[in-house]
Symmetry: C2
Subunit: 460 residues, 2 copies
């Protein structure tokens, strides 16, 4: 029992294949049994509507998506489980034999992680045998939706924090340990300088930070003793000063002459306390000591503190960032845009596809995002067909990353991704970065060719 | 590079130790280096304030918490990583030697999963050597906060769904693949009959559901062909009817005489479409066919549909459930409530602890929740000291689950947990389950003894 229990918490290689909605597998079986295994499909992943309050989104999660596609296997035990499941148990064995050798052999186009995007712009396109391209839907969505959500939220926060550093502190409120790890990664992409999550340092090389909690201070009879003992082990540390009386604690540090790198404020009126603490520190000869603020911070509170020139050097942001609290869902979808039907050994007939049920309009066909710059700023985007040649000068954003299931383009490292994102944000016109009003709608249009095709579908 | 990338997505046994805030480890080092390894600490995990709109919460995640505590180890590679980290690299080797043999040897009290709780009620208490009890904070919070969040949200949804079944459908919007898995588990506790997440079936034995997506229907030239082919492979399936024109699709099924178990509506006016579809099905001799509704459902929409007697048999709930969208954070905290200082070989001096910084009042000492029932309903709770004998008849909710690091009480299976929760919800007075008003505050008081102790701390 407990042994089994423990296993349940792991996410191993062999768990990824079943980490999917059951319908992906029943559809796979249906395609297989009705002899459609040679059909190819093209799917696009895009976000219909941004999370509340947002004018732009930040693409993230490609690295994990690629890792998944490269390693996807069904192991014996999983296949046995599927075989025994009520909805699949009447199938012939040939489908399960097929699953044994199942690999992802398709092609993948994607925008670079850190790219700023807008609604309806495909951030990933998968083309492959229809079963393969279908089965990967749920997993791709779960890693890309979540990391894009957090990178987007963080980008807003680090933008208003301006020249102050932001550290991600939210592991305890993340949606489980893996979400904590992925949030640390995505928040680094969105501009955080690091995280409190130790595993993020170990796995991704992200700078990690942390010194003490209130419990450490409370475990001593006297607050000052806890500071003394801690700095004897860790000289020049960041000291948490709000366990009892914040300013009193700062005064005690100064009086005792404890060598610190700075103080952390975690409750109360952060503006007032930072101003008063700064005074005490400066007058006590602690001009170099930094002030860090934390405790239910978000982009609005940080903007307020920064606009009032609060003498805060670092912001630690937890819950609001790792849960994207004002809207915790990135509504990415993965939609079929075309089918390729084999007509001869090497020839396929390409058929555009479009879902027409009310309220969920999409454009058919494999697409490309063309970005147009003007005066050094991002001016507008045109969504066209993948092979379209536009009349205007524009940069295509989707690049081919995988071919026949193999990675063919180097994935950039996290530092590069972060720099790329910040650079993009710098050239995004200011009105799309404002917090305090109804989000501006960035100009994205469809190419004439695409509009024409869509119209033909509607009137069919 | 890609090999490393792939590894980054796994969550193995060996990753759990570092899946924590760095400050847990710097505090551990500070305790170790200042010779406090023999001190014992008592921590309590509780929620100060419920998520928005909630009157009660549902405890969940104990099984994963126990699994973690039982398996916690630092492996060689992780210790090397810590040794090389900037903030720890100046420490003597003895701390890292200590980590090699580190095990959790403490005691754990907890409420049963599925228990209904209110703000400030401890759902878990850990007592152990101070380093052990401290280091586990972040991980315990991340698994318990998240599962409690989702079980709580689901309990609201399944309550208003009344006698209609609810299936969890939100893997693609969950905060990563592990969050999807844990959400499936927590939503089952909260009353869902199952999930679309295949891994939840494989790992937890949760019933899993799923048939087809729009892409399946679209991959055929004619909608009706997709239905025919699918039901040839999977006879009597749930057919998705809203890819093009919902009612037209239902009519086609009836006309063609396709054998189905039911239809799924995923967009449009679900009330209207369910009424019209029901008529078509009934008149066509499909009286047994069920109707499932999905598409951005939440407790308010479901309450509305149920109150209008929409002929819907099942609800599939995704994004709103797996992200707890109206408030995606359970603000559980893990607070030091007492320290035990060794005074002789077997004797400890117990010192109550309390943090007094503004706005974050807590009560000191190890506590127990005493629940008082009246006329078969939950009437009120009293939070007292763990060993307190109250004058009234009350049921203590916290039970001892671990002793010296070993599980001493059997963890119930998921079916038992779900039944236990539903039974609790049945005897919770109705006003705490209403959706459409300001949440009622359930009567929770502190014992006189606890109030007295708290007052003494305040006036010290």
């Amino acid at each position: 029992m407990t042994k089994k229990t423990f296993k349940n918490l792991e996410m191993n290689l062999s768990d990824f294949a079943l980490s999917t909605d059951l319908y992906e597998l029943t559809m796979a079986a249906a395609y297989f049994k009705s002899g459609q295994i040679k059909k190819r499909a093209i799917f696009e992943l895009f976000v219909r509507k941004l999370p509340r309050n947002r004018s732009y989104m930040v693409a993230a999660g490609l690295e994990q998506a690629v890792a998944y596609l490269q390693s996807l296997r069904f192991v014996e035990k999983e296949i046995s489980f599927l075989k025994s499941h009520e909805s699949l148990k009447n199938l012939d064995n040939d489908f399960f034999e097929y699953l044994k050798d199942f690999r992802f052999t398709g092609d993948v186009w994607a925008v670079l992680e850190g790219t700023i995007l807008f609604p309806n712009e495909p951030l990933l396109r998968v083309e492959g045998p229809i079963i393969e391209a279908q089965v990967v839907e749920t997993f791709l969505l779960s890693v890309i939706n979540f990391q894009s959500l957090i990178a987007t939220k963080t980008s807003r926060i680090t933008h208003v924090a301006s020249n102050k550093d932001v550290i991600e502190f939210g592991s305890r409120r993340a949606h489980g340990p893996q979400a904590a790890l992925l949030a640390a990664r995505a928040s680094f992409i969105g501009g955080c300088v690091g995280s409190s999550n130790t595993l993020a340092g170990y796995k991704f090389g992200i700078p990690i930070f942390g010194t003490m909690a209130h419990s450490y201070v409370m475990s001593y009879d006297k607050e000052i003793d806890s500071f003394q003992e801690f700095t004897q082990v860790f000289p020049r540390s960041m000291i948490l000063v709000d366990t009892y009386d914040t300013l009193e604690a700062v005064r005690k540090i100064v009086e005792a002459g404890i060598k610190i790198s700075g103080i952390r404020l975690d409750s109360g009126d952060l503006y007032q306390l930072s101003v008063e603490s700064r005074k005490i520190l400066d007058m006590g000869g602690y001009k170099d000591a930094k002030i860090m603020a934390s405790g239910d911070l978000n982009e609005n509170i940080i903007q307020d503190l920064v606009s009032r020139d609060a003498p805060i050097d670092y912001f630690g942001v937890g819950t609001e960032l790792t849960t994207s609290r004002d809207d915790p869902a990135m509504n990415g979808v993965y939609k079929l845009v075309a089918i390729k039907i084999p007509r001869s050994k090497k020839k396929y007939q390409l058929i555009y596809k479009l879902k027409t049920s009310e309220g969920k309009k999409t454009y058919p066909g494999p697409k490309q995002i063309f970005r147009i710059f003007s005066n050094g700023l991002i001016e507008r985007d045109i969504i066209g067909l993948e092979d379209e040649k536009l009349q205007v000068k524009a940069v295509p954003l989707l690049k081919k990353f995988m071919e026949h299931g193999r990675l063919i383009r180097k994935l950039p490292c996290l530092d590069t991704i972060q720099k790329f994102h910040i650079k993009q944000r710098d050239i995004l016109p200011i009105e799309f970065k404002a917090l305090d009003k109804v989000p501006e709608v960035f100009p994205v249009s469809y190419s004439d060719k695409l509009e024409k095709i869509e119209k033909e579908f509607r009137t069919e």
